[in-house]
């Protein structure tokens, strides 16, 4: 593995499978009475979150603690950045205290690339702007493989605000790398330029996208999108793109429903679908810890000096 995990773009399919297989082993640790192994004992991991997050941050913290690392979470919104400190200076100040790894979430695409160029610590991307959220895609793949035993050859439909979603980009990269047939669907105003070049089928008809799908993945649609004149209203969005039981019925009978969270019930997904028997949304959360443990373990070794 390379020094950092900046995105799925930099991972080969072999490396992805290695992470998934390692996560299998890591999951068992969460089932023991003592949920801890000494592997990262004495290593310091800093969670540097410039954007608020409960789910991802907690998941990383638990993963770090299970590996016996010394972990520290910084919610930067309340501190130095308000005093005008740049991203680079904030990171370099943290780096001066010699952490082994820095897990970073930031609102700007490319923030982790910038930090990886200037920090010697290993950088793990926990979500940068609209760019990538690699550990999310990895835990999504883990969850899919759990249920479907494979990734290649599956039809996966991803529906929602494609333009602003880093979860979309990471998932598209990973699923196409591993040979899935990926369909993406959302309002035309929210389809990124050049989407076809990503190796996916694009459809503004969600019915077409989910037909015979093995996996349906929903993305969040935010209130703010009405400001850029992307969609007229959330109500209309639900009518055209919301994942209802009727739409789910067009997929394969055992299709699984996924969502990176947090969900807007009644906007992108109907409650009955979110809470239904084929929803694996909570499993995704549980799997997140194992996958992040795998990532932390695999990145902790490797070449010194990157």
């Amino acid at each position: 593995m390379k020094k950092d995990l900046l995105g799925i773009a930099e991972l080969s399919s072999e490396e992805i499978y290695l992470i998934l297989d390692t996560a299998e082993a890591m999951r068992e640790i969460g089932q023991r009475p003592i949920k801890k192994v000494p592997t990262l004992r004495g290593k310091t991991v800093v969670n540097l979150f410039f954007e608020p997050s409960t789910r991802t941050r907690t998941s990383f913290e638990i993963a770090e603690k299970r590996l016996s690392a010394d972990t520290l979470s910084i919610a930067v919104a309340t501190s130095s950045v308000l005093k005008g400190e740049t991203l680079v200076d904030t990171a370099m100040n943290i780096e001066a205290m010699s952490p082994d790894m820095i897990v970073v979430r930031h609102a700007a695409s490319g923030a982790c690339h910038l930090l990886s160029r200037i920090c010697r610590s290993r950088i793990i991307n926990a979500g940068d702007g609209m760019h990538e959220h690699p550990t999310q895609a990895l835990l999504d793949a883990f969850t899919i493989r759990e249920h479907k035993k494979r990734i290649d050859g599956l039809k996966v439909a991803i529906v929602g605000d494609l333009l602003h979603s880093r979860v979309l980009r990471s998932n598209v990269l990973l699923l196409t790398k591993l040979g899935a047939e990926v369909w993406v669907s959302g309002p035309r105003t929210l389809v990124p330029a050049g989407m076809e070049r990503f190796g996916v089928r694009v459809s503004t008809s969600v019915e077409e996208a989910v037909a015979d799908a093995d996996v349906i993945m929903m993305l969040r649609i935010q209130q703010e999108r009405m400001q850029g004149a992307f969609i007229p209203s959330l109500r209309e969005y639900f009518t055209v793109f919301g994942m209802t039981a009727e739409r789910v019925a067009r997929a394969k009978p055992d299709a699984i429903i996924m969502h990176p969270g947090p969900m807007n019930r009644g906007v992108e997904i109907a409650s009955e679908v979110a809470d239904g028997p084929y929803s694996v949304i909570l499993e995704q959360v549980a799997n997140g810890v194992a996958v992040r443990m795998a990532v932390l373990y695999l990145l902790a070794g490797g070449q010194e000096g990157g």
Partner: protein
Amino acid sequence: MKRLLKGGRVVDPANGRDGVLDVLIDGDRIVRVGRDLPVEADIVVVEIPSGLVVCPGLIDMHVHLREPGQEYKETVATGTAAAVAGGFTAVACMPNTHPVNDNAGVTEYILKKAAEANLARVYPIGAVSRGQDGEQLADIAELRQAGCVALSDDGRPVATALLMRRALEYAGMFKMPVIEHCEDPSLKAGGVAHEGYHASTLGLHGIPGEAESIMALRDISLAELTGGCVHIAHMSARQTLDAVRYGKTRGARVTCEVTPHHLVLTDEMLVSPIPYDTNVKMNPPLRASEDRDAMLAGLADGSVDVIATDHAPHHYDEKHVEFDRAPFGITGLETAVSLCLDRLVHAGVISLVRLVELLSVNPAKILGVAGGSLAAGAPADVTILAPDLAVTVSVARMRSKAKNTPFDGWQLRGGVAATIVGGRVVYEGVGSLLQFLPPAL
């Protein structure tokens, strides 16, 4: 002092000259250009080594000198030093300084600084609107009187069609062109890169080419309506070039310029070699290869009038941030000539003669300033090019204060041997075979 530049290839398209000729300079004027000019006793003879090219001084009509107000990025002194090192004998500087150049005081300040530096000539461009706010016209006659040669609200477009119409009409009285930064603000929105596959892979908000062409069409229509002169700055999109061709066939007085970086680079630079490199972030952005190729075709078929750098120096700290937050712009004065010689002339896109038109003849004509010609009586502004000089671009050796360029380390064929302004040698290139300074007396 009389100086004879002897035996170089003289490329002077304004006077129909391209051949091995001698150029006689007396003081700050060209006296004569001809074959085997007689050498009198009081003439210092400079043998031009074969392979070098003597042409009228190059003029960069789109430069940001940042003074007054942002001297930490660049000053008139460092900017003009960079200019002459890049082979430019004159630059036209944009008014988006702090304070904006919308009055005689700022114009005179800039000219004073230029005189102190005493390197390249500086032609200030004044603001179209007061404060560049897009509401009221600036005092254009005053600006003209103080020395401005053109008007622009560069950094942004002239805010409304009405104001642009008025500006074209009013400036037309003084024969001043309006140089327009074509961009529809609502389409540009929060965009930071060309809207396309590469920006999408990086999760960057895109700016479509139509954001530029829509505004160009507005301005070309208004030029037609008013009979005024509009010059499209830093054109980047093929749709804009189509609009310019359309305007020209209709007889509108429209001219346009392209930067060297838009002729060489594409939006693939966002991804490789350095992902999210802020040294490839500029406005208008680097576009797709179809746009770049369209610009090259426009150079060759005459639709493009000028190559200008849009030299936009920024401090290292400002660029060493997340892509979204970095200011737009890269430097250009010290890389332009090498890029043009290597990627345009040697690549067979255009001839050296055409390059001189693009970099000297046409800018002088559009701005209405002396230059672009080696006619008898013309100012002795001469650039001596070394088209076969092996150049490695080195940011460390640049005279500009700013280092924001993606070309560091590039190996190019072609460079500047010497730059002469008003008869004075203001720059001599490293490795130059010319001995301009007389032996110590």
